[in-house]
Protein backbone atom coordinates (compact mmCIF):
# COMPACT_ATOMS: atom_id res chain seq x y z
CA UNK A 1 0.00 0.00 0.00
CA UNK A 2 2.87 2.30 0.76
CA UNK A 3 4.44 1.65 -2.62
CA UNK A 4 3.67 4.68 -4.68
CA UNK A 5 4.26 2.87 -7.95
CA UNK A 6 1.24 1.00 -9.23
CA UNK A 7 1.42 -2.75 -8.69
CA UNK A 8 -0.94 -3.48 -11.53
CA UNK A 9 -0.99 -1.57 -14.76
CA UNK A 10 -3.43 -2.50 -17.49
CA UNK A 11 -3.84 -1.05 -20.94
CA UNK A 12 -5.98 -3.05 -23.33
CA UNK A 13 -6.97 -2.35 -26.90
CA UNK A 14 -8.85 -4.41 -29.41
CA UNK A 15 -11.44 -3.84 -32.10
CA UNK A 16 -12.57 -7.43 -32.69
CA UNK A 17 -14.72 -9.31 -31.65
CA UNK A 18 -15.80 -6.19 -29.72
CA UNK A 19 -14.16 -2.85 -29.02
CA UNK A 20 -12.03 -2.57 -25.91
CA UNK A 21 -10.06 0.51 -24.94
CA UNK A 22 -9.37 0.31 -21.24
CA UNK A 23 -6.63 1.75 -19.13
CA UNK A 24 -6.35 1.34 -15.35
CA UNK A 25 -3.93 1.13 -12.48
CA UNK A 26 -4.29 -0.48 -9.07
CA UNK A 27 -1.84 -0.25 -6.18
CA UNK A 28 -1.05 -2.96 -3.67
CA UNK A 29 -3.77 -3.11 -0.99
CA UNK A 30 -6.14 -1.00 -3.06
CA UNK A 31 -9.57 -2.31 -4.06
CA UNK A 32 -10.58 -1.03 -7.47
CA UNK A 33 -14.19 -1.44 -8.54
CA UNK A 34 -14.64 -2.05 -12.24
CA UNK A 35 -18.16 -0.98 -13.00
CA UNK A 36 -20.45 -0.26 -15.92
CA UNK A 37 -23.62 -1.58 -17.54
CA UNK A 38 -23.96 -5.22 -18.57
CA UNK A 39 -21.96 -6.01 -21.69
CA UNK A 40 -19.58 -3.09 -21.22
CA UNK A 41 -16.49 -5.36 -21.10
CA UNK A 42 -15.80 -5.55 -17.36
CA UNK A 43 -15.41 -9.32 -17.19
CA UNK A 44 -13.27 -9.30 -20.36
CA UNK A 45 -10.82 -6.93 -18.63
CA UNK A 46 -10.60 -9.32 -15.69
CA UNK A 47 -10.12 -12.28 -18.02
CA UNK A 48 -7.38 -10.44 -19.87
CA UNK A 49 -5.56 -9.78 -16.59
CA UNK A 50 -5.90 -13.47 -15.66
CA UNK A 51 -4.58 -14.53 -19.09
CA UNK A 52 -7.86 -16.10 -20.18
CA UNK A 53 -8.37 -13.54 -22.93
CA UNK A 54 -5.72 -12.17 -25.26
CA UNK A 55 -6.30 -8.71 -26.72
CA UNK A 56 -4.73 -7.72 -30.03
CA UNK A 57 -2.88 -4.85 -28.38
CA UNK A 58 -2.09 -4.11 -24.80
CA UNK A 59 0.04 -4.29 -21.73
CA UNK A 60 -0.64 -6.09 -18.44
CA UNK A 61 2.15 -5.39 -15.98
CA UNK A 62 2.18 -6.68 -12.42
CA UNK A 63 4.90 -5.73 -9.94
CA UNK A 64 7.03 -4.57 -12.86
CA UNK A 65 6.74 -7.94 -14.63
CA UNK A 66 5.01 -8.02 -18.00
CA UNK A 67 2.30 -10.64 -18.20
CA UNK A 68 1.29 -9.31 -21.59
CA UNK A 69 3.05 -6.90 -23.85
CA UNK A 70 2.01 -7.03 -27.47
CA UNK A 71 4.96 -4.81 -28.47
CA UNK A 72 7.41 -7.67 -27.91
CA UNK A 73 4.83 -10.47 -28.10
CA UNK A 74 5.09 -11.33 -24.41
CA UNK A 75 2.22 -13.45 -23.11
CA UNK A 76 2.34 -15.35 -19.84
CA UNK A 77 -0.26 -18.17 -19.70
CA UNK A 78 -2.73 -18.12 -16.79
CA UNK A 79 -0.90 -21.02 -15.09
CA UNK A 80 2.15 -18.81 -14.54
CA UNK A 81 0.50 -15.51 -13.59
CA UNK A 82 -0.26 -16.03 -9.88
CA UNK A 83 -3.75 -14.59 -10.14
CA UNK A 84 -6.52 -15.30 -7.65
CA UNK A 85 -9.81 -15.21 -9.53
CA UNK A 86 -13.24 -15.59 -7.93
CA UNK A 87 -15.62 -16.45 -10.75
CA UNK A 88 -19.17 -15.10 -10.89
CA UNK A 89 -20.62 -18.59 -10.37
CA UNK A 90 -17.61 -19.69 -8.28
CA UNK A 91 -16.46 -22.45 -10.72
CA UNK A 92 -15.66 -24.86 -7.92
CA UNK A 93 -14.52 -28.35 -8.96
CA UNK A 94 -17.73 -30.35 -8.40
CA UNK A 95 -16.04 -33.73 -7.90
CA UNK A 96 -13.65 -32.51 -5.19
CA UNK A 97 -14.39 -31.68 -1.57
CA UNK A 98 -13.75 -28.23 -0.14
CA UNK A 99 -10.24 -29.08 1.08
CA UNK A 100 -9.17 -30.55 -2.27
CA UNK A 101 -10.70 -27.62 -4.14
CA UNK A 102 -8.38 -25.34 -2.20
CA UNK A 103 -5.35 -27.63 -2.36
CA UNK A 104 -5.64 -27.71 -6.15
CA UNK A 105 -4.54 -24.08 -6.19
CA UNK A 106 -1.48 -24.74 -4.01
CA UNK A 107 0.97 -26.30 -6.45
CA UNK A 108 3.47 -23.56 -5.52
CA UNK A 109 4.08 -25.11 -2.07
CA UNK A 110 5.21 -28.62 -1.10
CA UNK A 111 2.60 -31.39 -0.86
CA UNK A 112 3.26 -31.90 2.84
CA UNK A 113 2.32 -28.31 3.68
CA UNK A 114 -0.79 -28.06 1.54
CA UNK A 115 -3.43 -29.54 3.86
CA UNK A 116 -2.38 -27.41 6.85
CA UNK A 117 -2.16 -24.25 4.81
CA UNK A 118 -5.53 -24.98 3.14
CA UNK A 119 -7.13 -25.29 6.60
CA UNK A 120 -5.73 -21.86 7.47
CA UNK A 121 -7.36 -20.35 4.39
CA UNK A 122 -10.63 -22.02 5.36
CA UNK A 123 -10.35 -20.53 8.83
CA UNK A 124 -9.77 -17.07 7.36
CA UNK A 125 -12.93 -17.40 5.26
CA UNK A 126 -15.00 -18.81 8.15
CA UNK A 127 -15.30 -22.24 6.56
CA UNK A 128 -13.58 -24.39 9.16
CA UNK A 129 -15.38 -27.68 9.83
CA UNK A 130 -16.76 -27.88 6.30
CA UNK A 131 -13.60 -29.10 4.57
CA UNK A 132 -15.02 -32.57 3.77
CA UNK A 133 -18.14 -31.23 2.10
CA UNK A 134 -18.56 -31.20 -1.65
CA UNK A 135 -19.65 -28.00 -3.43
CA UNK A 136 -23.17 -29.34 -4.05
CA UNK A 137 -23.63 -29.74 -0.28
CA UNK A 138 -22.90 -26.07 0.40
CA UNK A 139 -25.08 -22.93 0.34
CA UNK A 140 -24.39 -20.07 -2.09
CA UNK A 141 -22.58 -18.06 0.56
CA UNK A 142 -20.42 -21.03 1.58
CA UNK A 143 -19.50 -21.72 -2.04
CA UNK A 144 -18.53 -18.09 -2.41
CA UNK A 145 -16.26 -18.39 0.63
CA UNK A 146 -14.63 -21.55 -0.77
CA UNK A 147 -14.06 -19.77 -4.09
CA UNK A 148 -12.42 -16.87 -2.22
CA UNK A 149 -10.32 -19.27 -0.13
CA UNK A 150 -9.17 -21.04 -3.31
CA UNK A 151 -8.26 -17.71 -4.92
CA UNK A 152 -6.31 -16.68 -1.81
CA UNK A 153 -4.63 -20.10 -1.53
CA UNK A 154 -2.83 -19.33 -4.78
CA UNK A 155 -1.09 -16.55 -2.79
CA UNK A 156 -1.78 -14.30 -5.75
CA UNK A 157 -0.04 -11.16 -6.96
CA UNK A 158 -3.50 -9.86 -7.94
CA UNK A 159 -6.94 -10.76 -6.58
CA UNK A 160 -9.79 -10.54 -9.07
CA UNK A 161 -13.44 -10.77 -8.03
CA UNK A 162 -15.99 -11.15 -10.82
CA UNK A 163 -19.40 -10.13 -9.44
CA UNK A 164 -18.83 -12.46 -6.47
CA UNK A 165 -21.97 -11.38 -4.61
CA UNK A 166 -24.46 -11.50 -7.47
CA UNK A 167 -25.67 -15.05 -6.77
CA UNK A 168 -26.32 -14.77 -3.02
CA UNK A 169 -29.26 -13.34 -1.07
CA UNK A 170 -29.17 -9.87 0.51
CA UNK A 171 -28.52 -11.12 4.05
CA UNK A 172 -25.58 -13.32 3.00
CA UNK A 173 -24.30 -10.49 0.84
CA UNK A 174 -24.12 -8.11 3.79
CA UNK A 175 -22.23 -10.77 5.78
CA UNK A 176 -19.82 -11.37 2.92
CA UNK A 177 -19.19 -7.61 2.51
CA UNK A 178 -18.06 -7.51 6.12
CA UNK A 179 -15.87 -10.57 5.72
CA UNK A 180 -14.26 -9.26 2.55
CA UNK A 181 -13.63 -5.90 4.21
CA UNK A 182 -11.86 -7.77 7.06
CA UNK A 183 -9.85 -10.03 4.77
CA UNK A 184 -8.66 -7.16 2.60
CA UNK A 185 -7.04 -5.48 5.58
CA UNK A 186 -4.69 -8.50 5.67
CA UNK A 187 -3.82 -8.35 1.96
CA UNK A 188 -1.39 -6.03 0.26
CA UNK A 189 -2.01 -7.08 -3.32
CA UNK A 190 -4.06 -5.12 -5.86
CA UNK A 191 -7.69 -6.19 -5.79
CA UNK A 192 -10.28 -5.67 -8.50
CA UNK A 193 -14.00 -6.12 -8.06
CA UNK A 194 -16.35 -6.30 -11.02
CA UNK A 195 -19.82 -5.11 -10.09
CA UNK A 196 -22.67 -2.96 -11.27
CA UNK A 197 -24.02 -2.39 -7.82
CA UNK A 198 -23.09 1.18 -6.81
CA UNK A 199 -23.87 0.44 -3.17
CA UNK A 200 -21.30 -2.35 -3.27
CA UNK A 201 -18.79 0.04 -4.84
CA UNK A 202 -19.32 2.66 -2.13
CA UNK A 203 -19.13 0.14 0.70
CA UNK A 204 -16.10 -1.83 -0.45
CA UNK A 205 -13.95 -0.01 -2.98
CA UNK A 206 -11.25 2.64 -2.69
CA UNK A 207 -11.32 3.58 -6.33
CA UNK A 208 -13.54 3.07 -9.32
CA UNK A 209 -13.12 2.63 -13.05
CA UNK A 210 -16.27 3.15 -15.09
CA UNK A 211 -16.43 1.31 -18.40
CA UNK A 212 -19.02 1.69 -21.11
CA UNK A 213 -18.99 -0.02 -24.54
CA UNK A 214 -15.48 -1.27 -23.75
CA UNK A 215 -14.05 2.20 -23.06
CA UNK A 216 -12.91 3.74 -19.78
CA UNK A 217 -15.10 6.77 -19.18
CA UNK A 218 -13.75 7.93 -15.82
CA UNK A 219 -11.60 6.56 -13.04
CA UNK A 220 -10.46 7.82 -9.66
CA UNK A 221 -11.36 7.74 -5.98
CA UNK A 222 -14.91 6.47 -5.43
CA UNK A 223 -16.20 9.63 -3.74
CA UNK A 224 -14.65 11.88 -6.34
CA UNK A 225 -16.10 9.98 -9.31
CA UNK A 226 -19.52 9.41 -7.77
CA UNK A 227 -19.98 12.96 -6.51
CA UNK A 228 -18.23 14.75 -9.37
CA UNK A 229 -18.79 12.84 -12.60
CA UNK A 230 -17.14 14.34 -15.67
CA UNK A 231 -20.27 14.35 -17.80
CA UNK A 232 -24.03 13.88 -17.55
CA UNK A 233 -23.62 10.56 -19.40
CA UNK A 234 -21.31 9.30 -16.65
CA UNK A 235 -23.69 10.64 -14.01
CA UNK A 236 -26.53 8.64 -15.56
CA UNK A 237 -24.40 5.48 -15.74
CA UNK A 238 -23.56 5.91 -12.07
CA UNK A 239 -27.26 5.87 -11.31
CA UNK A 240 -27.85 9.56 -10.63
CA UNK A 241 -31.38 10.76 -11.34
CA UNK A 242 -31.38 14.49 -10.66
CA UNK A 243 -29.67 15.73 -13.81
CA UNK A 244 -30.79 18.99 -15.42
CA UNK A 245 -29.67 21.68 -17.81
CA UNK A 246 -28.98 25.26 -16.76
CA UNK A 247 -27.13 28.43 -17.63
CA UNK A 248 -23.91 29.23 -15.81
CA UNK A 249 -22.68 32.82 -15.46
CA UNK A 250 -19.54 33.66 -13.59
CA UNK A 251 -18.01 36.86 -12.38
CA UNK A 252 -14.48 37.21 -10.97
CA UNK A 253 -15.35 35.79 -7.56
CA UNK A 254 -18.77 34.27 -7.87
CA UNK A 255 -20.79 31.96 -10.05
CA UNK A 256 -24.55 31.83 -10.64
CA UNK A 257 -26.61 29.04 -12.04
CA UNK A 258 -29.99 29.49 -13.56
CA UNK A 259 -31.84 26.19 -13.43
CA UNK A 260 -35.09 24.63 -12.18
CA UNK A 261 -36.70 28.06 -12.57
CA UNK A 262 -34.53 29.65 -9.93
CA UNK A 263 -31.10 31.22 -9.43
CA UNK A 264 -28.48 29.27 -7.47
CA UNK A 265 -25.30 30.55 -5.95
CA UNK A 266 -22.74 27.94 -6.98
CA UNK A 267 -19.38 29.65 -6.54
CA UNK A 268 -16.75 30.23 -9.19
CA UNK A 269 -15.92 27.24 -11.45
CA UNK A 270 -12.73 27.74 -13.45
CA UNK A 271 -13.41 24.70 -15.66
CA UNK A 272 -16.62 26.08 -17.11
CA UNK A 273 -17.35 28.87 -19.55
CA UNK A 274 -20.43 31.01 -19.33
CA UNK A 275 -23.37 29.38 -21.06
CA UNK A 276 -25.36 26.13 -20.99
CA UNK A 277 -24.23 23.49 -18.50
CA UNK A 278 -25.47 20.18 -17.13
CA UNK A 279 -26.38 20.15 -13.45
CA UNK A 280 -26.27 17.26 -11.01
CA UNK A 281 -28.04 17.61 -7.67
CA UNK A 282 -27.12 15.10 -4.99
CA UNK A 283 -30.17 13.78 -3.11
CA UNK A 284 -28.31 14.33 0.19
CA UNK A 285 -28.13 18.07 -0.61
CA UNK A 286 -31.91 18.43 -0.78
CA UNK A 287 -33.59 19.74 2.40
CA UNK A 288 -37.32 19.48 2.87
CA UNK A 289 -38.97 22.53 4.45
CA UNK A 290 -40.92 21.68 7.57
CA UNK A 291 -44.60 22.53 7.41
CA UNK A 292 -44.98 23.45 11.11
CA UNK A 293 -42.07 25.87 11.50
CA UNK A 294 -39.11 27.26 9.48
CA UNK A 295 -36.29 24.79 8.81
CA UNK A 296 -32.59 25.40 9.06
CA UNK A 297 -31.18 26.36 5.67
CA UNK A 298 -34.53 26.86 3.98
CA UNK A 299 -33.48 30.24 2.69
CA UNK A 300 -30.72 28.67 0.61
CA UNK A 301 -31.90 28.08 -2.96
CA UNK A 302 -35.60 27.47 -2.19
CA UNK A 303 -37.66 25.64 -4.79
CA UNK A 304 -41.44 25.14 -4.80
CA UNK A 305 -42.63 21.67 -5.69
CA UNK A 306 -45.59 19.35 -5.66
CA UNK A 307 -45.36 15.67 -4.58
CA UNK A 308 -46.10 13.44 -7.59
CA UNK A 309 -44.99 10.10 -6.16
CA UNK A 310 -44.36 8.85 -2.62
CA UNK A 311 -43.29 5.20 -2.38
CA UNK A 312 -42.56 3.45 0.89
CA UNK A 313 -39.29 1.55 0.79
CA UNK A 314 -38.51 0.06 4.20
CA UNK A 315 -37.99 2.89 6.69
CA UNK A 316 -37.76 5.48 3.92
CA UNK A 317 -40.20 7.24 1.66
CA UNK A 318 -38.94 7.72 -1.89
CA UNK A 319 -40.27 11.05 -3.17
CA UNK A 320 -40.64 12.27 -6.70
CA UNK A 321 -41.44 15.98 -6.79
CA UNK A 322 -42.51 18.14 -9.70
CA UNK A 323 -40.88 21.57 -9.75
CA UNK A 324 -43.64 24.09 -10.19
CA UNK A 325 -41.69 26.60 -12.30
CA UNK A 326 -40.39 24.17 -14.94
CA UNK A 327 -42.35 20.93 -14.63
CA UNK A 328 -39.10 18.99 -14.16
CA UNK A 329 -38.93 16.24 -11.53
CA UNK A 330 -36.52 15.82 -8.65
CA UNK A 331 -36.08 12.68 -6.52
CA UNK A 332 -34.83 12.07 -2.99
CA UNK A 333 -35.86 10.10 0.06
CA UNK A 334 -36.82 11.00 3.64
CA UNK A 335 -37.52 8.95 6.74
CA UNK A 336 -41.12 7.77 7.01
CA UNK A 337 -41.56 9.35 10.42
CA UNK A 338 -40.43 12.74 9.03
CA UNK A 339 -42.90 12.31 6.16
CA UNK A 340 -45.71 11.48 8.58
CA UNK A 341 -44.93 14.46 10.83
CA UNK A 342 -45.01 16.82 7.84
CA UNK A 343 -48.03 15.13 6.24
CA UNK A 344 -46.17 14.43 2.99
CA UNK A 345 -48.40 12.67 0.51
CA UNK A 346 -49.07 12.63 -3.20
CA UNK A 347 -50.56 15.91 -4.49
CA UNK A 348 -49.34 18.04 -1.56
CA UNK A 349 -47.26 21.20 -1.99
CA UNK A 350 -43.72 20.91 -0.65
CA UNK A 351 -40.93 23.44 -0.31
CA UNK A 352 -37.34 22.26 -0.65
CA UNK A 353 -33.91 23.85 -0.56
CA UNK A 354 -30.90 22.72 -2.58
CA UNK A 355 -27.63 23.21 -0.74
CA UNK A 356 -24.95 24.77 -2.96
CA UNK A 357 -22.29 22.19 -2.03
CA UNK A 358 -24.47 19.43 -3.45
CA UNK A 359 -24.75 21.05 -6.87
CA UNK A 360 -22.21 19.75 -9.38
CA UNK A 361 -21.84 21.42 -12.77
CA UNK A 362 -20.69 19.59 -15.88
CA UNK A 363 -20.24 20.53 -19.52
CA UNK A 364 -23.59 20.62 -21.35
CA UNK A 365 -24.97 17.25 -22.39
CA UNK A 366 -23.71 16.11 -25.77
CA UNK A 367 -26.26 16.58 -28.54
CA UNK A 368 -27.82 13.24 -29.31
CA UNK A 369 -28.30 12.30 -32.92
CA UNK A 370 -31.84 11.42 -33.79
Amino acid sequence: MNDKHPSLEVQLNQSEPFRLNVSLQCRGGELLALTGPSGSGKTTVLRAIAGLHRTTEGVVRCNNRYWQNTRDNTFTPPQHRRVGLVFQHYALFPHLNVLNNIMTAMSHISRAQRANKAMQWLQLTNMEGLHQYRPDQLSGGQRQRVALARALAREPDVLLLDEPFSAVDQLTREKLYRELALIRTKLDVPMMLVTHDMREVQQLADSICLIHHGTTLQSGQVNQVVRKPDSPRIARLLGHKNIYTGIYTSSAANGRLSALGTEFDVGHNADLENGPVSVLIEPSAIIMHRTDRPSKGERENPVKTCVSEAIEMGDDLMLKLIIKATGESIAFSISRHVAARNRVSTGNQLGISVLSEGIHLMPADEIRNP
Binding site: L52, F87, A91, L92, F93, P94, H95, T104, S107, R154
Partner: protein, 219 residues
Protein backbone atom coordinates in the same frame (compact mmCIF):
# COMPACT_ATOMS: atom_id res chain seq x y z
CA UNK B 1 -13.19 -70.34 -31.68
CA UNK B 2 -16.99 -70.33 -31.27
CA UNK B 3 -18.95 -67.38 -32.72
CA UNK B 4 -19.80 -66.26 -29.18
CA UNK B 5 -16.17 -66.05 -28.00
CA UNK B 6 -15.07 -64.57 -31.32
CA UNK B 7 -17.68 -61.82 -30.99
CA UNK B 8 -16.62 -61.22 -27.41
CA UNK B 9 -12.94 -61.01 -28.41
CA UNK B 10 -13.79 -58.60 -31.24
CA UNK B 11 -15.93 -56.42 -28.96
CA UNK B 12 -13.21 -56.33 -26.32
CA UNK B 13 -10.45 -55.36 -28.74
CA UNK B 14 -12.65 -52.73 -30.38
CA UNK B 15 -13.62 -51.21 -27.01
CA UNK B 16 -10.08 -51.17 -25.63
CA UNK B 17 -8.65 -49.57 -28.77
CA UNK B 18 -11.51 -47.21 -29.42
CA UNK B 19 -12.05 -45.65 -25.97
CA UNK B 20 -8.77 -43.67 -25.94
CA UNK B 21 -9.41 -42.61 -29.55
CA UNK B 22 -12.99 -41.62 -28.68
CA UNK B 23 -11.78 -39.69 -25.64
CA UNK B 24 -9.25 -37.68 -27.64
CA UNK B 25 -11.58 -37.05 -30.58
CA UNK B 26 -14.51 -36.24 -28.27
CA UNK B 27 -12.41 -33.64 -26.47
CA UNK B 28 -11.12 -32.18 -29.72
CA UNK B 29 -14.67 -31.88 -31.06
CA UNK B 30 -16.02 -30.47 -27.76
CA UNK B 31 -13.38 -27.76 -27.27
CA UNK B 32 -11.52 -27.42 -30.56
CA UNK B 33 -11.93 -24.30 -32.65
CA UNK B 34 -10.17 -25.02 -35.91
CA UNK B 35 -10.83 -24.94 -39.63
CA UNK B 36 -12.41 -28.12 -40.92
CA UNK B 37 -13.96 -29.02 -37.55
CA UNK B 38 -17.34 -29.51 -39.21
CA UNK B 39 -15.80 -31.86 -41.80
CA UNK B 40 -14.04 -33.88 -39.11
CA UNK B 41 -17.30 -34.17 -37.18
CA UNK B 42 -19.13 -35.26 -40.34
CA UNK B 43 -16.53 -37.97 -41.04
CA UNK B 44 -16.66 -39.25 -37.45
CA UNK B 45 -20.47 -39.54 -37.53
CA UNK B 46 -20.65 -40.81 -41.13
CA UNK B 47 -20.96 -44.51 -40.10
CA UNK B 48 -24.25 -43.64 -38.39
CA UNK B 49 -25.94 -42.82 -41.69
CA UNK B 50 -23.87 -44.78 -44.21
CA UNK B 51 -25.14 -48.29 -45.15
CA UNK B 52 -22.68 -50.84 -43.68
CA UNK B 53 -22.26 -52.38 -47.13
CA UNK B 54 -20.94 -49.08 -48.52
CA UNK B 55 -18.38 -48.88 -45.72
CA UNK B 56 -17.55 -52.55 -46.20
CA UNK B 57 -17.05 -52.04 -49.93
CA UNK B 58 -14.56 -49.18 -49.37
CA UNK B 59 -12.70 -51.16 -46.74
CA UNK B 60 -12.45 -54.13 -49.14
CA UNK B 61 -11.03 -51.83 -51.81
CA UNK B 62 -8.55 -50.20 -49.41
CA UNK B 63 -7.41 -53.45 -47.81
CA UNK B 64 -7.03 -55.29 -51.13
CA UNK B 65 -3.41 -56.35 -51.72
CA UNK B 66 -3.79 -54.91 -55.23
CA UNK B 67 -3.22 -51.35 -53.97
CA UNK B 68 -0.44 -49.63 -52.05
CA UNK B 69 -2.18 -49.37 -48.68
CA UNK B 70 -3.35 -52.99 -48.82
CA UNK B 71 0.15 -54.12 -49.83
CA UNK B 72 1.78 -52.21 -46.96
CA UNK B 73 -0.74 -53.59 -44.46
CA UNK B 74 -0.21 -57.12 -45.82
CA UNK B 75 3.54 -56.72 -45.23
CA UNK B 76 2.94 -55.37 -41.72
CA UNK B 77 0.48 -58.10 -40.73
CA UNK B 78 2.26 -60.94 -42.50
CA UNK B 79 -0.50 -61.62 -45.04
CA UNK B 80 -3.50 -59.86 -46.63
CA UNK B 81 -5.83 -58.27 -44.11
CA UNK B 82 -9.13 -59.00 -45.85
CA UNK B 83 -11.12 -61.93 -44.46
CA UNK B 84 -9.03 -61.94 -41.26
CA UNK B 85 -9.76 -61.13 -37.62
CA UNK B 86 -7.55 -58.01 -37.88
CA UNK B 87 -9.75 -56.75 -40.72
CA UNK B 88 -12.79 -57.24 -38.49
CA UNK B 89 -11.14 -55.16 -35.75
CA UNK B 90 -10.25 -52.40 -38.21
CA UNK B 91 -13.80 -52.37 -39.63
CA UNK B 92 -15.29 -52.36 -36.13
CA UNK B 93 -13.10 -49.44 -35.11
CA UNK B 94 -14.42 -47.37 -37.99
CA UNK B 95 -18.06 -48.43 -37.67
CA UNK B 96 -18.11 -47.82 -33.91
CA UNK B 97 -16.30 -44.48 -33.99
CA UNK B 98 -19.51 -42.43 -33.48
CA UNK B 99 -20.54 -44.60 -30.52
CA UNK B 100 -17.22 -43.98 -28.81
CA UNK B 101 -16.89 -40.30 -29.74
CA UNK B 102 -20.37 -38.92 -29.12
CA UNK B 103 -20.76 -39.77 -25.40
CA UNK B 104 -17.25 -38.47 -24.72
CA UNK B 105 -17.90 -35.30 -26.72
CA UNK B 106 -21.15 -34.65 -24.86
CA UNK B 107 -19.49 -35.33 -21.50
CA UNK B 108 -16.64 -32.90 -22.21
CA UNK B 109 -19.05 -30.27 -23.54
CA UNK B 110 -21.10 -30.55 -20.33
CA UNK B 111 -18.14 -29.45 -18.18
CA UNK B 112 -18.55 -25.74 -17.45
CA UNK B 113 -15.93 -23.65 -19.23
CA UNK B 114 -15.26 -21.60 -16.10
CA UNK B 115 -14.34 -24.79 -14.19
CA UNK B 116 -11.57 -25.47 -16.72
CA UNK B 117 -10.48 -21.84 -16.55
CA UNK B 118 -10.46 -21.99 -12.75
CA UNK B 119 -8.08 -24.95 -13.05
CA UNK B 120 -5.72 -22.99 -15.33
CA UNK B 121 -5.82 -19.94 -13.06
CA UNK B 122 -5.14 -22.27 -10.09
CA UNK B 123 -1.90 -23.24 -11.83
CA UNK B 124 -2.85 -26.57 -13.43
CA UNK B 125 -1.32 -27.31 -16.82
CA UNK B 126 -3.57 -28.42 -19.69
CA UNK B 127 -2.59 -32.06 -19.05
CA UNK B 128 -3.24 -31.79 -15.30
CA UNK B 129 -6.56 -30.08 -16.02
CA UNK B 130 -7.45 -33.02 -18.29
CA UNK B 131 -6.78 -35.83 -15.83
CA UNK B 132 -7.53 -34.06 -12.53
CA UNK B 133 -10.55 -31.94 -13.48
CA UNK B 134 -12.06 -33.07 -16.79
CA UNK B 135 -11.67 -36.84 -16.72
CA UNK B 136 -13.25 -37.36 -13.26
CA UNK B 137 -16.23 -35.35 -14.43
CA UNK B 138 -16.80 -37.27 -17.65
CA UNK B 139 -16.33 -40.86 -16.51
CA UNK B 140 -20.01 -41.51 -17.17
CA UNK B 141 -19.52 -40.49 -20.80
CA UNK B 142 -16.58 -42.88 -21.04
CA UNK B 143 -18.59 -45.71 -19.47
CA UNK B 144 -21.45 -44.98 -21.83
CA UNK B 145 -19.07 -44.96 -24.82
CA UNK B 146 -17.50 -48.26 -23.74
CA UNK B 147 -20.86 -49.97 -23.22
CA UNK B 148 -22.32 -48.75 -26.49
CA UNK B 149 -19.20 -49.69 -28.44
CA UNK B 150 -19.06 -53.14 -26.87
CA UNK B 151 -22.75 -53.88 -27.39
CA UNK B 152 -22.82 -52.48 -30.91
CA UNK B 153 -19.75 -54.51 -31.94
CA UNK B 154 -21.40 -57.69 -30.71
CA UNK B 155 -24.33 -57.05 -33.01
CA UNK B 156 -22.46 -55.71 -36.05
CA UNK B 157 -23.34 -57.61 -39.23
CA UNK B 158 -23.01 -55.80 -42.58
CA UNK B 159 -19.43 -54.57 -42.50
CA UNK B 160 -18.22 -57.68 -40.69
CA UNK B 161 -19.65 -59.89 -43.43
CA UNK B 162 -18.24 -57.72 -46.22
CA UNK B 163 -14.72 -57.46 -44.79
CA UNK B 164 -14.38 -60.73 -42.89
CA UNK B 165 -16.60 -63.05 -44.83
CA UNK B 166 -17.92 -66.10 -43.01
CA UNK B 167 -14.93 -68.24 -42.02
CA UNK B 168 -15.73 -70.55 -39.10
CA UNK B 169 -13.50 -69.93 -36.10
CA UNK B 170 -11.82 -67.00 -37.83
CA UNK B 171 -14.41 -64.37 -38.81
CA UNK B 172 -17.82 -65.96 -38.10
CA UNK B 173 -19.20 -63.71 -35.38
CA UNK B 174 -22.44 -64.17 -33.45
CA UNK B 175 -24.59 -62.10 -35.78
CA UNK B 176 -23.26 -63.94 -38.84
CA UNK B 177 -23.84 -67.26 -37.07
CA UNK B 178 -27.48 -66.21 -36.43
CA UNK B 179 -27.85 -65.36 -40.12
CA UNK B 180 -26.31 -68.73 -41.05
CA UNK B 181 -28.63 -70.62 -38.71
CA UNK B 182 -31.69 -68.91 -40.15
CA UNK B 183 -30.51 -69.66 -43.69
CA UNK B 184 -30.20 -73.34 -42.79
CA UNK B 185 -33.60 -73.33 -40.96
CA UNK B 186 -31.89 -74.03 -37.60
CA UNK B 187 -34.34 -71.74 -35.82
CA UNK B 188 -33.64 -73.12 -32.33
CA UNK B 189 -29.97 -72.17 -32.45
CA UNK B 190 -30.80 -68.78 -34.06
CA UNK B 191 -33.40 -68.09 -31.35
CA UNK B 192 -30.99 -68.92 -28.52
CA UNK B 193 -28.25 -66.69 -29.92
CA UNK B 194 -30.71 -63.86 -30.67
CA UNK B 195 -32.09 -64.01 -27.15
CA UNK B 196 -28.56 -63.91 -25.74
CA UNK B 197 -27.73 -60.81 -27.79
CA UNK B 198 -31.00 -59.15 -26.90
CA UNK B 199 -30.53 -59.74 -23.17
CA UNK B 200 -26.93 -58.61 -23.25
CA UNK B 201 -27.79 -55.37 -25.08
CA UNK B 202 -30.68 -54.69 -22.71
CA UNK B 203 -28.54 -55.24 -19.60
CA UNK B 204 -25.79 -53.02 -21.03
CA UNK B 205 -28.24 -50.15 -21.60
CA UNK B 206 -29.76 -50.60 -18.11
CA UNK B 207 -26.27 -50.41 -16.57
CA UNK B 208 -25.58 -47.16 -18.42
CA UNK B 209 -28.93 -45.73 -17.37
CA UNK B 210 -28.43 -46.68 -13.68
CA UNK B 211 -24.95 -45.16 -13.71
CA UNK B 212 -26.46 -41.98 -15.19
CA UNK B 213 -29.14 -41.75 -12.50
CA UNK B 214 -26.55 -42.43 -9.78
CA UNK B 215 -24.32 -39.72 -11.23
CA UNK B 216 -27.08 -37.11 -11.35
CA UNK B 217 -28.02 -37.97 -7.71
CA UNK B 218 -24.41 -37.47 -6.62
CA UNK B 219 -24.32 -34.06 -8.33
Amino acid sequence: MSPFWLSLKLALWTTVLLIPIGLVMGRVLAYGKFKGRVWLEAFVYLPLVLPPTVLGYYLLVVLSPNNKIGKTLATLFDGPLVFSFEALVLASLIVNLPFAVQPSQLAFAAIAQDTREAAWVSGLSSWSTFYRIELPQCWLGVLCAATLTFAHTLGEFGVVLMVGGNIAGETRTLSIAIYDSVQSFNMGSAGAMTLGLLLFSLVALVIVRIAGIQHSRER
